[in-house]
Symmetry: C2
Subunit: 110 residues, 2 copies
DNA sequence: CGGTATCCGCATCGATACTG
DNA sequence: CAGTATCGATGCGGATACCG
């Protein structure tokens, strides 16, 4: 997602540039709920994302230091994803979104 | 933005479907800051949005009852945008995003 | 298991012109 | 002032195939 100039007038823009990707918030949310997840575990939780998209979003989150990727040199391969401390700092945003979304779903037909 | 199936497992998805549009959060933020804004006032605050996009996002926010559009039948035309009570209820999300974005911009080079 | 690589359709978005 | 209409390019993202 682009980093719009009005970032300077609204820091929300900076937030969106980091966690505004199509599946990023959902990924962060499930990683927060589960602490550690392997690729396919995460994929089962977010089945509407293709392998490609899930990997791409994870790479971006990793590049932005929100997510840690730990590779175990074993066969079959084992890779674990978890939140970094910085990633955990997004929690207030996630919780606000989760709470608002939940109340919306409750009010309107879920 | 689409409404992913994992909405059912993560209400954040519902939130994103309402405020996840390209300029929606920034729009909501400025409307919260200013209470009432005319179309061109808002456009000056979000100059990277084209007229088309700004209008489109505002229509969607209006359809979702987050924003109220008040038209004054005068020449030249006068239209005022403001948050509905429901729109104001998103504030916790906006503030969380703003706070996190601000601290990020402070830590890294803005 | 945990991914890449490639191709490509199609929605999104920008640019431009025009209007009440 | 506050938009709409239209066209066309871009790039996101899905489908598929393949790899260490």
């Amino acid at each position: 997602m682009k980093n719009p100039p009005s970032t300077y007038r609204c820091p929300c823009g900076a937030t969106l540039s980091l966690i505004g990707g199509k599946y990023k918030i959902v990924i962060l949310w499930f990683l927060y709920q589960n602490s550690v997840l392997r690729f396919n575990e995460l994929h089962r939780l977010v089945p509407e994302a293709t392998t490609k998209m899930l990997a791409q979003q994870l790479r971006e989150l990793e590049a932005d230091k929100l997510v840690e990727r730990k590779v175990y040199p074993v066969v079959p391969p084992k890779v674990e994803y978890s939140l970094t401390p910085f990633g955990r700092s997004v929690l207030p945003v996630l919780e606000a979104m989760n709470a608002w979304g939940a109340s919306y779903l409750e009010a309107h037909g879920a």
